[in-house]
C-alpha cells in the first residue's frame, strides 16, 4: 500500500522505538556507542542519528537498566562499553511483549483497511 502525499515520518517512529532497539542490540552482546549505531544501521534503521543513539544510551544508563565499563584501547580512545544488567533484561522482555501486542494490533488495522479497499 503506497503512501501518497504524506509519508510517515520515520524519525518520529524511531523516537518511540529507539530505546527498545538499543536494548535489543545490547542484549546480543555488550557494545560501545559508535558500534551500537553501526549495528542499528546494519539492521536497517539507517535513519537513526548518532546523537539519538548516544543520548538514548546515556538515558538508559541513568535509568539503571545498563551497566557500563571502560575498555582501554591501544589504537584509539578508551571505549565506554554498555551492556544489559538484570533490570535491563527484564525491561527488554516487558518492552518486547508490549511491542508485540502493539504491532499485531496495528497490523490488524492496516490489513483490515487494505482488504476493505480491495473490495
Amino acid at each position: 500500500m503506497a503512501m501518497n502525499g504524506n509519508p510517515i515520518d520515520t524519525s518520529q517512529l524511531l523516537k518511540g522505538v529507539l530505546e527498545l532497539a538499543v536494548l535489543a542490540v545490547l542484549a546480543d552482546h555488550d557494545s560501545y556507542g559508535y558500534d551500537v549505531l553501526r549495528r542499528l544501521r546494519e539492521s536497517g534503521l539507517d535513519a537513526v542519528g548518532d546523537a539519538s543513539v548516544y543520548g538514548t544510551l546515556r538515558r538508559l544508563y541513568q535509568a539503571g537498566v545498563l551497566k557500563s565499563y571502560v575498555v582501554p584501547s591501544d589504537e584509539g580512545p578508551h571505549r565506554k562499553y554498555y551492556g544489559l544488567n538484570d533490570r535491563g533484561r527484564s525491561a527488554l522482555d516487558q518492552s518486547t511483549k508490549t511491542w508485540g501486542s502493539f504491532t499485531s494490533a496495528l497490523d490488524h488495522l492496516l490489513n483490515g483497511r487494505s482488504t476493505a479497499n480491495a473490495k
Binding site: 556507542g33 539519538s52 543520548g55
Partner: protein, 317 residues
C-alpha cells in the same frame, strides 16, 4: 591513532555541543556528556571527514541529544518553582480542554457583533461623561434635550462606524493590530467606572439642563438633582410662583427632566426660570400633577415658628 587535527576537531565540536546544552542543570549535563569526547573521537577516527560534515551542526546534534536523553529527566531536576508553574499551566490547559470551554469558545465569534454595538455605545457614553462633568448620565439619553438627542445621534453614528470597522477584520500590520486591541480594551476599562457612577446617582432623572451654562444660574445638578420644587405654606396650602435663590443670590434652576416646562417670561422679555412650582407637561401634553406630600405636623399650640429650637429671648414689655 587519531591525528592532531582530528583531536582539535573533536574538542571544538564537543565544546560547542556543551555550550548548546548550557541551560541544562550541571549534574544532568555532566551525566549526559560524560564520555562525549571519547564517543566523538570514535566517530572521527572512522573517517577523514570533519565531524560537522558527518554529524551536522553542533547545535543540531545537541538538540537531538537532548531530545533522545528525554525531557522527563530534565523535569526531575528542575527547580520546584518551575514545577508549580507547570502545574498551574496544566490546570489552565485542563480547563481549556473541557467541553464547556470549547462550547463557549465556539460561541464567542457570534458575540462579536454585539461587542461592536456595545463599544460604540460605551465610547459615546464616555465622551458624554467627559464633556458634561460626568454628572447624572442616563443609560438612555433623553431625546427631548439637544444634548440627549446629540448623544443618541452620536451613538447611532458610532455603531455604524464600529460595525464597519469590525466587519473589515483585524488590521494586517502588527502595530495597528496592537493599537486596535488596546483601543478595545481601553474603551471597556474606561467605560466601567462611568457605568458604575451612572448607577449611583441619587436621582435617576436629574441631569444637567442643556444650554444652562449661564454661570449666574445655580444648576440643579449642583444640588441634588431635582426637576421641580413644590413649595407649601405652613398651613399646607400649595404656593405658586415662589422665587428661589441660593446663598450666593443666584436663581435656583431645576435640572432638565425631559418634560416640557412652561417658563414664564418676565416684563423684560427674559425667562424666569426659578419660579416654582414649574408648570410642566409630559411630551404627550398631559400636565404633570403635583406629587402627594406628607406635610409635617406643626406643634399646633405654638403660633411662632419653631420656638423650641430658636431660643430667641422674648422681649419683656
Amino acid at each position: 591513532m587519531p591525528n592532531s587535527s582530528q583531536a582539535n576537531d573533536v574538542a571544538r565540536y564537543a565544546a560547542e555541543v556543551r555550550a548548546a546544552l548550557s541551560s541544562l542543570p550541571d549534574a544532568e549535563r555532566e551525566s549526559l556528556l560524560e564520555d562525549l569526547e571519547s564517543h566523538l573521537a570514535e566517530v572521527a577516527s572512522e573517517s577523514d571527514q570533519s565531524l560537522e560534515d558527518r554529524l551536522g551542526k553542533p547545535a543540531a546534534y545537541a538538540a537531538e541529544l537532548r531530545s533522545a536523553y528525554g525531557v522527563a529527566s530534565e523535569a526531575r531536576n528542575a527547580p520546584p518553582k518551575k514545577r508549580y508553574r507547570d502545574r498551574a499551566w496544566g490546570l489552565v490547559s485542563a480547563v481549556l480542554a473541557t467541553q464547556a470551554y470549547s462550547e463557549v469558545r465556539a460561541f464567542l465569534p457570534e458575540l462579536r457583533a454585539g461587542w461592536w454595538v456595545l463599544r460604540a455605545y460605551l465610547l459615546v457614553l464616555v465622551l458624554a461623561f467627559m464633556f458634561r462633568d460626568g454628572l447624572n448620565l442616563r443609560p438612555v439619553p433623553n431625546p427631548f434635550t439637544s444634548s440627549g438627542l446629540l448623544q443618541i445621534l452620536a451613538t447611532v453614528l458610532a455603531i455604524v462606524v464600529s460595525a464597519r470597522l469590525g466587519r473589515r477584520g483585524m488590521p494586517v500590520s502588527r502595530g495597528w493590530r496592537g493599537a486596535a486591541v488596546a483601543a478595545n480594551v481601553g474603551i471597556a476599562l474606561v467605560a466601567l467606572p462611568v457605568l458604575v457612577s451612572m448607577g449611583t446617582g441619587s436621582d435617576y432623572y436629574g441631569y444637567y439642563a442643556a444650554g444652562s451654562s449661564d454661570p449666574n444660574l445655580t444648576q440643579a445638578a449642583n444640588y441634588s438633582s431635582f426637576t421641580n420644587i413644590y413649595p407649601y405654606s405652613r398651613d399646607g396650602q400649595p404656593l405658586r410662583d415662589v422665587l428661589l435663590y441660593d446663598q450666593d443670590g443666584k436663581p435656583i434652576v431645576a435640572a432638565d427632566s425631559g418634560l416640557v416646562t412652561n417658563v414664564p417670561i418676565g416684563a423684560d422679555g427674559l425667562p424666569i426660570q426659578n419660579a416654582y412650582p414649574l408648570t410642566q407637561s409630559d411630551p404627550n401634553g398631559a400636565p404633570v400633577v403635583a406629587p402627594r406630600v406628607a406635610l409635617p405636623p406643626w406643634p399646633s399650640s405654638q403660633p411662632s415658628p419653631s420656638p423650641a429650637i430658636s431660643p430667641t429671648p422674648t422681649p419683656t414689655r
